[in-house]
Amino acid sequence: MSVQSNDQAALAAGIRKSDKPLGRNDLARLVARDIKPGSFVNLGIGQPTLVSNYLQPEQNITLHTENGMLGMGPEATGDQIDGDLINAGKIPVTELPGASYFHHADSFAIMRGGHLDICVLGAFQVSATGDLANWHTGAPDAIPAVGGAMDLATGAKDVFVMMTLLTREGVSKLVETCTYPLTGIGCVTRVYTDKAVFLTGPGGVQVRETFGCTLEELQDMVPVPLTAAPAVGG
């Protein structure tokens, strides 16, 4: 897929800058708008799940859930609830026309074989080179649980992260080097936050959009060098 052309489309839509930080739903709407039509997508548990609320039928997006399904529909309600039909978060969901079921090894072959266009994940930290930390705080008494995070991070063609830019203590989650245990190395291509959208990769961190702050103000919050993405211009 072409990330660049998507970004240009986003710019053409006039969402390069907003006056205030984005809320969770606005951010989910933005991610949904950036997903190229026809994509196969896996939405992680938590905030990324909100993205499904904003996907438009004309985008023709197929959602994958790692417990063995393509063509997942919205969360089930009332009589639709069926214990045999759940998503990765173990929430009852629905199936859309054209859905398919498969066993777990096939489901992870879809990820690990590079067949998914995009996965959207939450994160504790993302590094300037796209390292991801999202599965374990490293606290000695914490019970570690990884699920499919490492497979998604290394397998999807594009890994988008959704997170608040700052912790509750005001510390940037976009960092030079992750201090939490890693999920994957150099895997994150974009970071969607309440304050800006960042493009990460070997060339460093570029800012595609800002929300309620200038690039200079953003730089004061983030401990890695930021540049404006070329398409953003001056």
Binding site: I86, A105, A145
Partner: protein
């Protein structure tokens, strides 16, 4: 030789102390609760259990853990809001945990059933879950060597079986069933319905009967 035990207790009667037992299911979907309850009743202990999770609430695998029958869990996601029995055993140091990325768990089980001695995968490379494992750079990517997970017994749930042991599943309750059936030396399946041989369309069979040893119908 395929058999059809009268009930779940008869089906699990041969499970020995110290066995490695694969249990199907992702959360509660596809979890063979009746077979797990029978495993509890049969008294087998010092079990190594392979499952995606480590039990939820106060039923099934969670109870097996609570009763101290499980000495080791091999799983990808033990910690959940209602995994209190595992949490307690873990914090008390009374259960061993081998934490495996979910795709590695699935592929290691698949590898066992397919006779594969091991495989390299990028999943987990450079993370603490790859510590101590052999690594290589293949096709320009760091990859980690992973080994198959074999089991003495698999307990799984399917929707229907026929007289040859062929199985079909239902929706996302399929999950680990087919690969566990192939990976275990002895596979015990609980189904909602047993149909006569020929009663399942050969084109839609998911698990061929060659992988299945015992089938028991549960209400």
């Amino acid at each position: 030789m395929l058999n059809f035990p009268e009930n779940v207790n008869e089906a699990v009667a041969g499970i020995q102390d110290g066995s490695t037992v694969m249990i199907g299911g992702f959360g509660n979907a596809g979890q063979p609760f009746e077979l797990i309850d029978a495993l509890m009743d049969c008294g087998a202990k010092d079990l190594t259990v392979v499952n995606n999770n480590a039990g939820q609430g106060d039923q099934g695998l969670a109870l097996l853990i609570k009763e101290g029958r499980v000495k080791k869990m091999i799983c990808s996601f033990p910690r959940q809001s209602d995994s209190w029995h595992f949490d307690a055993k873990y914090h008390a140091g009374e259960i061993e945990l081998e934490l495996v990325p979910q795709g590695n768990l699935a592929e290691r089980i698949r590898a066992a059933g397919a006779g594969i001695g091991g495989f390299f995968t990028p999943t987990g490379y450079g993370t603490m879950l790859a510590e101590g494992k052999e690594t290589r750079i293949l096709d320009g990517r760091g990859q980690v060597f992973e080994t198959p997970i074999h089991a003495d017994v698999a307990l799984i749930k399917a929707l229907k079986a026929d007289g040859k042991g062929n199985l079909v599943y239902r929706k996302t309750a399929r999950n680990f069933g087919p690969i566990m059936a192939a990976a275990a030396k002895h596979t015990i399946v609980q189904v909602s319905e047993i149909v006569p041989t020929g009663g399942l369309d050969p084109e839609i069979i998911v698990t061929p009967g060659i992988y299945v040893n015992s089938i028991v119908k549960v209400a």
